[in-house]
Amino acid sequence: MLNYLKFSKDVLGMNSRNLDYIRSFNKKRAKETADHKLNSKKILKKNGLKVPDLIGKIETFKDVENFDWEKLPKSFVLKPNRGLGGEGIMVVYGKKKNGNWVKSDRQEVSIQDLKNHILNILEGNYSISGVVDSAFFEERVKILKLFKQYSYRGIPDIRVIVFNNTPVMAMLRLPTKESGGRANLHLGGICVGIDLNTGVTTTAITRNLATQQEFLIDQIPFTRLSLSGISMPCWKEILEMSVKAQQVTGIGFLGVDIMVDRDKGPVIAELNARPGLAIQIANLAALKYRLKKVEGLKINTVKKGVRVGRDLFGGEIEEDIEDMTGKKVIGIFEKVTLKNIKSGVSKEENAKIDTGAFSTSISTDLAKKMGYDEVVKIFDSYDSKAQIRLTLEQAKKLTRELKEKYLDKYDVLTNILIVKSSNGITVRPKIKIKIYIENEIIDSHATVHDRKDLKYKVIIGRQDLKNLIVDPSRIKRKNL
């Protein structure tokens, strides 16, 4: 109970968000920039950030009459300039022969319907605090194949919270059937937490539409599509864009909404000066703790901000997977300790983790140093003899001979195999060796190879990786 109260201080609540962050870090002008979509689009574009292209805008009732409707492309998005929470946005994805467009909910819209909708927008029916508004058309972002299976009709976006030029938390928002193809949580969309370092999704939530209560989910409702483990494309670029968006707009506590276009890559769809708090539940991580952690840090470049954010707040997914499976997550290159039980010699080495190889192998040099020299020498002598390449028949015969002669003689020698490689056929020994990776102790039978030309003296094959999970994106983490 006491811990509960203590840890609850790390959570960002509505009162604190409004007073400590929005009031303190988002100046009125900066907020105006975010709320005014046309304006923020212009600023972002001017500073070299990608946004969906503007097709046209309508600011007055006169514009509605003078607008050249036939000029509109087959697909577009109609938005209120100062809309709130995704209200009043119309997505059109095709045009029929009769001149009508088709909305994302398959309903037809005529020019008259468009006009009506725009008049509603101009009157301020969708705008923040109901003030007169303008409407604009922009290009429709084309959905990425990766995201297609996860979203219903609409296009998912990635929300990144940026504070002090550092990305602090992120989530993927998916449009669902319940939300009518919109990605907003309060309409029934799904939010999926993203590990800041790897860009891989972790936990997911959606909301009960009546009570607006969030609850955790594993899969998209009524499907078997798992929501965790989805890897965000262009992750680094997305984080860099988010930080840059903060730099150019001056919004201190900022939510950046990014969509990934099939052709253009990530584009900034919207800026939000009042980002919601549910992102904490989607990530199962407390935001205030993170904000406090980066506050006051000196971050002067985009790259540094991204690096700090990834380093400080990444890595959850590994703990998660370890919790779930009880298996440790390792990278492709890891420090391992090898031990010859017989001689007692142990050595620390950089190993390459290779799930493509079946068994583990070590270099002859290393084997010799570790007290396997007697065994290795036998094969060395054969190797030098075998300047003339062995045929498969010869190799088989040799293996049989060697097995009879040495297998019982040496305790550490467990097997003798024929290895086919681009250099021809060789006969190699397998030796008993203990391997320590992270906290795992593996009793391995390693093949001894001549690996003089290779960078890594030790390659760990999948036979020895049964109790570990390999994450290729985790490169040399321990050595950084």
């Binding site: 609850s8 009157e123 607006q212 991580a285």
Partner: protein, 218 residues
């Protein structure tokens, strides 16, 4: 009467109804109740104004008829909205039609009430009726923006808050106290000032973020 603050006494002697004075003095308390409900507990309802004004309306209509009218107005308003949905009208004319339908319905209710000799209903004055009718717009806006389910949930919260406020305003001892010491209002202002600077989690948020707090991975 003798414990009355002299300012209050003066105002009443000038002909301002005592009821009006009392309600004026109680309104800050009602408003503060809404602030606590929102900032400390985390109940959303329809903002601060709507539940407060409904509570005052309930005082005039009586709780029974108040809740009855509140429910009827929301049901009729929603039904009208759904009926008008496919006609694709502009917003304001649409709301005007809804208000008209609700007005006619209330009129019918009054007629029926008169027929069955429900004098309580007939004696309801126009202003609380208007208050109840105008909250319909708020309700419809929430329906359009956040969906019917949310709107119903929020109206339920609003109703609960209004009833709570109604009971508080009905406490005669509290009324006496305010009439005796109207300066309490300044204490209420100070109290609201403190609430305005308060950045702690709302009670509801302890529940909302329970998984986050439990996970506490930072």
């Amino acid at each position: 009467m003798k414990f009355m603050n002299s300012f209050i006494q003066f105002v009443i002697e000038q002909g301002v109804p005592r009821e009006t004075v009392e309600l004026m003095l109680m309104f800050p308390i009602v408003a503060t109740l809404m602030v606590i409900a929102r900032q400390v507990v985390g109940v959303k309802a329809f903002g601060i104004y709507t539940p407060s004004i409904i509570a005052i309306a309930f005082l005039s209509t009586g709780l029974k008829y108040g809740i009855f009218l509140f429910t009827i107005i929301l049901i009729i308003g929603t039904a009208t909205r759904l009926a008008l949905k496919h006609l694709r009208l502009l917003y304001l004319p649409r709301v005007a039609i809804m208000l008209s339908v609700v007005s006619v319905t209330i009129f019918l209710v009054l007629i029926i009430g008169g027929y069955f000799n429900r004098t309580g209903l007939a004696s309801v004055s126009i202003f609380p009726l208007l208050i109840l009718i105008t909250i319909m717009e708020k309700f419809i806006v929430v329906q359009v923006e956040k969906g019917a389910k949310t709107a119903i949930f929020l109206s339920f919260e609003t109703l609960v808050l209004s009833v709570l406020a109604y009971f508080i305003v009905s406490i005669s001892q509290l009324r006496e106290l305010m009439v005796k010491y109207p300066w309490i209002i300044f204490l209420i202002i100070v109290f609201n000032f403190i609430l305005g600077k308060w950045t702690g989690l709302r009670i509801w948020e302890y529940y909302r973020f329970r998984e986050v707090i439990k996970a506490n991975k930072r």
